[in-house]
Amino acid sequence: MRSLKVRREVDARVQEDMRQFPDLIACMSCDTLTRRPRLSRAEIAICPVCGGVLLRAAKSVQQLAALSITAAVLWLLANVMPMLGIDLSGRHSQTTLWGSVLSFTNHLTAPMGVVVALALIVLPALQIGILCWLSFFALAGRRAPLFNELMRAWDGMHAWSMVEVGMLGILVSYVKLKGLFDVDVGIGMWAMAGLAIVLTLIVPRDVRALWHQLDAAGAA
C-alpha cells in the first residue's frame, strides 16, 4: 500500500517537471521503488519485494578514514614482509606476496601472475589510496578533487580485489607445506590477515553512501 503512495507522488512530481528524486531508492535487483529511510546505527533497509539489501547505515566519515589509514599501513607490511618460509635440512626459503606473482611469470602461466598481482596487490592498493583521499576530504565536509572519477573507479575495482581470498590461500598453502617442511609464518601473513579484516569491514555501501552524504552536505 505504501508503494501506491510512492507511485502517486512520483506521478505528481513528474508533472511538476521534477527530474531527480534523491529521497527514493530503486532496488538494484528488482527495480522496486521505495522511500529512502532514515537508518540508525547498524540498521539495514531490505527491499519489501525481493529481500535484497537496499541501504545500510553507513559508517561515519571518521570511521572510514580510520579504517583506510589502518588498511594502508597493513598493506605496506603485507607486501614488504615475508609471508611464508620453509626449512629443509638446514636450507631456508621464503616468499613475499610479490614472490608468488613472479612464480607464475617464468612459465606459460604468466597471465595468472598479472591476475594475482591485480587481485592481491595493485587493486587493493588503489582502493586504499582512493579511500584515504576521499575520506580525508570528506572529513572536512568536501568532495575531493576527482571525486566522481575516483568513486566510479572504486566501485568498478571492488569485485576484483581479493585480499580475503588471498588470506585463505596462505592458510591452505601453510597446511599443504606443513606435511613436507618446517614452515614458519612471517609478519606479512599477519598483516595480510589484518588487511583482510579491515577491507571486509569497508563494504561498498559505506563508500557509496558518500554520494548521498556529501550531496546533502553541499545542498545544506
Partner: protein, 211 residues
C-alpha cells in the same frame, strides 16, 4: 495496477553507480547529473554478454580440470616429478589427514564453479522467457537469492590459483625439492574470471521485466 511500483514503469531509473533515482527520458543528457556516469535503464545487452562469457568459461572448464595445475619434484624422484590436477590436489589433502582443507578446496574449486555454470544457465534461460503480465513471479525471488549467492561466492574460487602461486614461490630448493605452476591453472583462473564477468553482466531486473 499492481501494489508494487517499479522504477521503469513510471519512467524512472536509478544510476548504477551512485543510485540517484531520476527520470529516464531519452531527450535529456544521458549521463547522471550527480556522478557523470553513463545512464542506462538495464545493463546493456545483458543476456547475450552473459551467455557469451558463460560459453567462454565452459570452454576453459575442461582443460582446467584435466590438465595439471602444478608440477612438483623432489630428490630421488626417478620419473621426473609429479603433476597434480585440481582434483588430485583435493584427494591429496584428504589422504594426508587434512580433511577440512580437502573439503574447503573441493567447495572452492569444484563445487562452486560447477554450481555457477548450472545456476547461471538457469537464470539466463529464465530471464530469456520474461513474464508477459509484468507481475512479479514468485519463482523470481528464489532465482534472485541464487544470483546474490553467486555474486558473493564467485571470487572465492580464485583460492586454488593463489595456493599454486604461493607454494611454487616458496618450494624452491634447487635439485632437492622444486615446484612449478602448470598450464591447467591458467585455464582454471580463466574459468573463474569468465564466470565472474558473466555474473556481473547479468541484470537480475530482467527476471521480471515485461516482454
Amino acid at each position: 495496477m499492481s501494489a508494487v511500483t517499479r522504477a521503469a514503469e513510471v519512467g524512472l531509473l536509478a544510476c548504477h553507480v551512485c543510485g540517484l533515482v531520476q527520470s529516464a527520458d531519452g531527450s535529456r543528457a544521458r549521463t547522471c547529473p550527480r556522478c557523470e556516469a553513463e545512464l542506462r535503464v538495464r545493463k546493456p545487452r545483458s543476456l547475450s554478454r552473459s551467455w557469451a562469457l558463460w560459453c567462454a568459461g565452459l570452454v576453459c572448464y575442461v582443460p582446467a580440470n584435466v590438465l595439471p595445475v602444478m608440477h612438483t619434484m623432489s630428490l630421488g624422484d626417478t620419473n621426473g616429478g609429479d603433476d597434480s590436477t585440481i582434483m588430485s590436489g583435493v584427494i591429496q589433502f584428504w589422504q594426508t589427514g587434512s580433511q577440512e582443507i580437502a573439503i574447503l578446496i573441493f567447495l572452492a574449486s569444484i563445487l562452486i564453479p560447477s554450481t555457477k555454470f548450472v545456476v547461471m544457465a538457469a537464470l539466463l534461460i529464465q530471464a530469456g522467457r520474461r513474464p508477459s503480465s509484468g507481475r512479479m513471479p514468485v519463482r523470481s525471488v528464489g532465482s534472485l537469492r541464487w544470483y546474490r549467492f553467486l555474486e558473493i561466492i564467485g571470487h572465492w574460487s580464485m583460492l586454488d590459483v593463489l595456493v599454486v602461486g604461493l607454494v611454487t614461490a616458496v618450494v624452491q630448493f634447487r635439485g632437492v625439492s622444486e615446484a612449478e605452476p602448470r598450464i591447467g591453472i591458467l585455464y582454471f583462473g580463466m574459468v573463474v574470471i569468465f564466470t565472474m564477468l558473466a555474473t556481473q553482466s547479468f541484470d537480475p531486473r530482467l527476471l521480471w521485466d515485461r516482454r
